[in-house]
């Protein structure tokens, strides 16, 4: 017998009575506030930032101001040029030289300040979202969903994306003596730019 069949057979022999353990209906609980204010508060808690325009500033002006030293700015959105397009990166080795990556998230989650990215937003190179030093995420207030329940119930991406990441602030660690360090091995900062 294959290990597969042996494991399944043993589970069938050993399991508790399925009739005694019904599956509860899908839960939809908690605070249903899907506001921008709640999102921003959660985002700040997880170390993310809002890139706010100064006096009608454009996205590219705001990026130039915030990341003054950035040399390679990679764009994954049509309306922003950058110095290189994500499709042109080709390899992780090239993506590792990117200073700032600009992407658009299809939705955000107010409870967590999370944004979602998949292969649809990171054409040909999922690793670009983690190899870049900084990431700027364009997000529309109208796509905010209240919490994890509503996100999983409502968003089709969880059923269709082959790679789907919820990023909640930048990478972080507290593995050395409990000291929280923001900017561990993935992006060092994560900024949200609200779509007008």
């Amino acid at each position: 017998m294959s290990s597969r069949d042996a494991i399944l057979a043993r589970l069938r022999d050993n399991r508790p009575d399925p009739a005694a353990h019904a599956l509860p209906p899908v839960a939809r609980l908690g605070d249903m506030d899907a506001s921008r204010a709640r999102f921003e508060k959660s985002l700040a808690l997880l170390g993310g930032q809002v890139l706010a325009p100064q006096e009608g500033e454009s996205l590219s002006a705001a990026i130039a101001r915030r990341f003054a030293d950035a040399k390679i700015i990679c764009s994954a959105v049509p309306e922003f040029e950058g110095t290189v397009r994500i499709e042109e990166l080709g390899t992780p080795q090239t993506a590792a030289n990117v200073d700032v990556l600009v992407v658009r998230a299809p939705f955000g989650i107010a409870e967590m300040g999370s944004i979602f990215l998949s292969e649809a937003q990171l054409p040909t190179l999922n690793s670009a979202a983690h190899l870049t030093q900084h990431i700027v995420v364009i997000l529309s207030e109208s796509t905010l969903t209240a919490n994890m329940h509503t996100a999983y119930i409502e968003r089709p991406e969880f059923h269709t994306a082959r790679y789907g990441v919820l990023m909640s602030g930048p990478s972080a660690t507290a593995d050395i003596q409990g000291v929280l360090v923001r900017g561990a091995q993935g992006v060092r900062t994560l900024s949200v730019w609200w779509e007008q």
């Binding site: 294959s2 290990s3 494991i7 399944l8 043993r10 589970l11 050993n14 399991r15 508790p16 399925p18 353990h21 599956l23 509860p24 899908v26 839960a27 609980l29 908690g30 997880l46 170390g47 992780p92 080795q93 590792a96 409870e111 967590m112 999370s114 292969e119 040909t124 999922n126 690793s127 979202a129 983690h130 190899l131 994890m148 329940h149 999983y152 119930i153 969880f158 269709t160 994306a161 082959r162 790679y163 789907g164 990441v165 919820l166 909640s168 602030g169 990478s171 972080a172 660690t173 507290a174 593995d175 050395i176 003596q177 000291v179 360090v181 900017g183 561990a184 091995q185 993935g186 992006v187």
Partner: protein, 467 residues
Amino acid sequence: MKVKPVNHARAAEAFIKDTPHLTFHDERLWDLRQKRDQQMHELPEWQELRTLASQIKEHTLANLPEYLEQFEANAKKNGIHVHWAADGAEHNRIVGEILEKHGAKSLIKSKSMVTEECNMREYLEPRGVVVTETDLGERIQQLDNQMPSHIVVPAVHKLTPDVAKLFAEHYHTDPNDDDPQSLAWSQRLAARPVILAADAGMTGGNFVVAETGSFVVCTNEGNADLSATVPGLHIATLGIERLVPRMADLGVFVRMLSRSALGSPITQYTTHFRGPQDGSEMHVVLVDNGRSHRLGMEDFWTSLKCIRCGACMNTCPVYRRSGGLSYGAVYSGPIGAIIDPTFNERKYSTLPFASTMNGSCTNVCPVRINIHDQLYKWRRVLAEHHELPFVKREVMNMAGRLLGQPKLYRAAISGTETALGVLPRFALYNWLNPWGKNRELPHPVKQTFHSWYKQNRLKTKKKGEDA
């Protein structure tokens, strides 16, 4: 050769004597516990979430063969290669073969307790595969040749100078660097080139979704996503108990996992893998390694609900004061004490005694595992399988050495020279739990005690009547 039981109390002695390490460890974990409480208080639905999580997990475990088949079918449809491993040896062989087929000589991996169970590094390295842990805490432990001492924060028993020393040795950084920020930066700089040059990447999986054939990885450092997406080959090691039926069930678990573990609302990364990237290959290895056997243990099968949040460890006074390494097992703390004996009853026979039975572990567990009840039941099993002096010694070890109150315990267990067999059951229970006599017990424990007492008193009475 007969395997010797882990001498937990002895192993903890050195740790206890080292005041700076002990104090930090105790306070850091207690801080995590308090942060968890704060998060819990912000969610009025917390207890409801725990109940749902428990029900979903129990349902899934009772229907595990069907859900595993559903997962397998969906994952294959999405282009994932699915493998099954009965034990650690088979897991390692499968991974070794995949790597060999690809000519892969370097493997970068994120934290996975299942690969620790399997001793995978020890298997792969002599076969010419360089395995690099990319999680900072796990890497620190790898460089120090130690097991992770905690399932969420693997190097929590170390202080900054310990890390500086290790990094100086292996990364040639300043041995006097006392800044965690700059040490974390050294890890980033050291890891990047290894990640970019790696032939294969490996992750674990916190949740496995039958409905979609997905698996979900919850991490903070970004290393798991790098390990999964940079090389063209991603292997994921998944414990078969990690299944949930529906994608929408994840809401319940993701809302509690990081809140319970670290007191943060969510991990920085919650990543859903449903299939390989274009031009890449994805494999999952479904690992049993004793789980199907555990499912048949009437008193202990619910330990399979565990989502490995570590909350029971953070709250446990014995764990905080003995350090994870003293358990001598892959899993330490209260959850380790109830699952390790299912791997090797003799070797881990001492661990169920490493508890004060204060019930705090049960109270914080997000999936409502009755941890302290199971500790108790293990003591009973072990008392039946071992001689009296062993059990008595372990109770004394825990009490005296770890908690520094030997007198209290001597008093508590005085008069126990009587053979086990002639003790009434309730007295035996009390004796196995001396702590209960002297501590105010939280509600659930009290209840259990009363019901046990009642049950046993009634039994004794009945016996008396019969006779």
